[in-house]
């Protein structure tokens, strides 16, 4: 979903948010994190790339087509965990964070997750609280040199949340475009020729 977040006059930068869906976009996401976490915050490489990147969804935000911010979402049973959120230094005055977190929450909600969860750096707590997140308890913990608290925000999934009885072709759609027909729905025009049926029969005999 290429979504225009900003409105107004045309000389404002065009902000686009989407799910990273190609290796190029994934690469952009990883490089933004390297720039901010490894370059600016001196995070060690192996802490930044912790092994969870290949079981997560990655969100990308572009300013006039240039990669500007990214976020990683991991999927647990009852909640989605937002993490590794970065905005490149040169874009930090653009007010991107709140619209980006909103987009992420909306993404989780449409996938049927009733709760978004995150570990907030202590200095950012007021921002998360303003954005509807509440601390889950009083604990403060630390990793990679920063102090964190766990926050959660309830999401109103409504009746359209995907379930096992949802139209199967809706579940096959690209995950950031669950409300629009996807490429596999186009493939339905080709009909069902069942090209491997013969092979299965041979194996059965």
């Amino acid at each position: 979903m290429t979504v225009q977040v900003t409105t107004g006059s045309s000389n404002r930068p065009a902000i686009t948010i989407k799910l990273a869906s190609t290796s190029d976009e994934l690469m952009q996401c990883y490089m933004l994190r390297a720039a901010v976490f490894i370059g600016e915050q001196a995070c060690p490489y192996w802490e930044e790339y912790d092994g969870n990147d290949y079981s997560a969804s990655h969100l990308m935000l572009y300013v006039d087509g240039e990669p500007a911010a990214s976020m990683r979402v991991r999927w647990f049973a009852g909640f989605a965990k937002l993490e590794r959120a970065v905005i490149l230094k040169r874009y930090r005055s653009y007010g991107l964070f709140i619209p980006f977190v909103h987009w992420a929450k909306e993404f989780c909600r449409k996938k049927g997750y009733p709760k978004a969860y995150l570990h907030g750096q202590k200095r950012l707590w007021p921002i998360f609280e303003k954005d509807g997140f509440r601390k889950v308890d009083d604990k403060v913990f630390h990793f990679s040199d920063h102090e964190y608290g766990a926050f959660a925000c309830d999401l109103d999934v409504g009746e359209n949340a995907p379930t096992v009885t949802t139209d199967p072709m809706v579940l096959n759609r690209p995950e950031d475009k669950l409300d629009m027909p996807g490429i596999l729905e186009e493939s339905m025009e080709r009909g069902a020729s069942n090209p491997h049926a013969g092979w299965t029969e041979r194996r059965a005999t």
Partner: protein, 187 residues
């Protein structure tokens, strides 16, 4: 095939990128230094030439701390995008990376290394055997660069005529589009 010394008891290792993960480490070091530290836009840093080049990475223990990209031309090899993480500078990691470039170029029969340097780095490079191609700068404004060369074998100095004409900063598809190196149409 590793060059080794050590910093604070941790070994410094140089290796060629051979796998996806290796390349990502080289890219991450460059993103940290060029995008994070020097504020270069992503699309300039990752310019389309990364998949026709050789990437060399420096590790301190397990940690990727430096990288250089080596591009191959018919008459020279071109080390560029040399990066060492800020907190590990001053340990000659850059020199190890360039030396690995030189060895690799030698093993492939190349006779010349060519690079483009920022004016502030010229003195440093001259100390390490690089010479300016000509006295003139190849560009204007804050991003002007100076073309420099170095013989692959220090015992076989380059004839002046060997120096390539200016610049190869364009990405390769653009070089191919004209069939001429950028700069050859200078008046």
């Amino acid at each position: 095939m590793n060059t080794t010394n050590s910093i604070g008891g941790q070994p410094v290792t140089i290796k060629l990128a051979m796998k996806m993960e290796d390349s990502l480490q080289a890219f991450a070091v460059r993103a940290a230094c060029f995008i994070g530290e020097q504020d270069i836009p992503y699309s300039e840093e990752f310019d389309g030439n990364d998949f026709g080049a050789t990437h060399i990475i420096a590790y301190l223990g397990e940690e990727p701390v430096g990288a250089v990209r080596l591009r191959w031309f018919q008459s020279f090899a071109m080390p560029e995008r040399l990066a060492v993480m800020q907190r590990f500078r001053g340990n000659a990691i850059g020199e190890l990376l360039i030396e690995r470039c030189r060895q690799l170029a030698e093993s492939r029969g190349a006779r010349m290394l060519y690079t483009q340097a920022l004016p502030r780095d010229i003195k440093y490079l001259e100390k390490h055997g690089w010479r300016r191609v000509d006295a003139g700068d190849t560009g204007k404004g804050p991003k002007r660069v100076v073309a420099m060369t170095r013989p692959v074998d220090p015992n076989q100095p380059l004839a002046d005529a060997d120096a390539p004409d200016a610049v190869t900063v364009r990405n390769e598809s653009q070089v191919d589009a004209t069939g001429l190196p950028l700069g050859s149409n200078r008046g």
